[in-house]
């Protein structure tokens, strides 16, 4: 296409996907910067639990009394003071910016009902799993391994088992 010749910088840096090595180096540097600036390791799903608790509190659930919220009461939670919430927001804004810069933004259609069922069940399982293991693949794995934490390695083995089981369901219902 002509656009490739006219805008070589755009084509190379904003449109074409970066290599795994580029991604890994950038992720590492940004994660180190986050620890230096905030004093805490990168996480994603910790805040989801707080938002869920906040939502349940709207209906009078008083989740502060639950064991899972000991030490992190929902009643004093402030979104803008929560490092993880801010980086979560950054992920969404960053991804949106990246797709716009690449001129690849598209609202995708839902192809069939099975996609909806799988998304809902999958989302619930991932959410429950992330809370039970005290982190997702970022908080428990990505931030756990460099901290020499054993739970990161346990998580590492378990996601492969989960992916193997999940692939069988995928082949059965989606192919």
């Amino acid at each position: 296409m002509d656009e490739k010749k006219n805008y070589p910088f755009h084509e190379l840096y904003l449109k074409r996907e970066w290599s795994y090595t580029t991604g890994a180096v950038l992720l590492t540097l940004l994660a180190i910067a986050l620890v230096i600036v905030t004093g805490k390791a990168w996480g994603v799903t910790g805040s989801f639990g707080m938002w869920g608790g906040w939502f349940l509190n709207l209906f009078g659930a008083n989740v502060d009394a639950w064991d899972g919220f000991k030490g992190t009461p929902v009643s004093t939670y402030n979104f803008w003071m929560d490092n993880t919430a801010i980086t979560d927001l950054g992920i969404v804004i960053g991804a949106f910016l990246a797709v716009l810069l690449a001129a690849q933004f598209k609202i995708k259609k839902i192809k069939n009902g099975r996609q909806v069922v799988a998304a809902v069940i999958g989302g619930l399982l991932m959410g429950i799993g992330a809370r039970l293991s005290l982190g997702c693949n970022i908080g428990a794995l990505f931030s756990g391994l460099p901290a020499f934490s054993l739970h990161g390695w346990v998580f590492f083995v378990c996601i492969f088992i989960g992916a193997a089981v999940g692939s069988q369901f995928l082949k059965k219902y989606f192919i």
Binding site: V99, Q104, F105, K106
Partner: protein
Amino acid sequence: MAEKSLDCLGEACPIPLVKAQKEMERMAVNDVLIVNVDHSCAMKNLPDWARSAGHAVEIEEVGEGEWDIIIQKLK
């Protein structure tokens, strides 16, 4: 030489790849398969697989966030 198209719009990885692999098995040498995708990582793993399997691959951007992956079966 037959030409076949495969609509994978709205489908996420690795479904377009597995569907294309299945379709390629049923095709004869020199046949062309056009896979229509709107999932950017299918644009990487599908051509990677097809090239490593020894087929000819071309990618055409048909719209914003939408691609045709054209694979010619060579063996």
